[in-house]
Symmetry: C2
Subunit: 112 residues, 2 copies
Amino acid sequence: MKKVGHADVTGSSPEGTEGVDFRALLAEDVDPPNFYMRVFDVSPGGHTPKHRHDWEHEVYVARGSPKIVLESGEVRLIPGDAVYVEPNELHQFVNDGNSIVRFVCVIPRPKK
Amino acid sequence: MKKVGHADVTGSSPEGTEGVDFRALLAEDVDPPNFYMRVFDVSPGGHTPKHRHDWEHEVYVARGSPKIVLESGEVRLIPGDAVYVEPNELHQFVNDGNSIVRFVCVIPRPKK
């Protein structure tokens, strides 16, 4: 068993994000075999990049009420929602509210 | 994109659990390609089975402060902690506190 607390990892702001504190909790350092677990804190007014890529996301909204922006429009999320974003689907998470948004985002382990 | 809210799924109590409300948010119905995302709510005094299996867990503690029981002893968890449980590692999540525990548990997609 390996435990990684939120404070055990240094936050970063990946390219294309604004107002984001990103922490890869179960990733390279832990080296899990199949998927990586990361956490995004998004400040009010902040967002992730509007982009697409060939791997899926599985997201769990732990706190706050972001919207997800898609090609087809926007969908409001609330705490407790889980979201599956398909490979190659355009997507962006936006915090247009007044309180912090926290979501867990799981991706396949990157191929070496 | 597929969104599944906590209230969209009926809770169940898997064999060996006590005081557990289990919801498979991103699983068979959504049919994601690589991993499934499930949520456990554990009432005070409740627990998951003490067991092992040949797939890993990646767990995120969203609420409450459970302990994880391992062969080597017990480890206290707090909200924001992520835990990697190795394949074939004995493990159990126990809520020995006074408030509800909620954790997200991701597993590899079961082989058909």
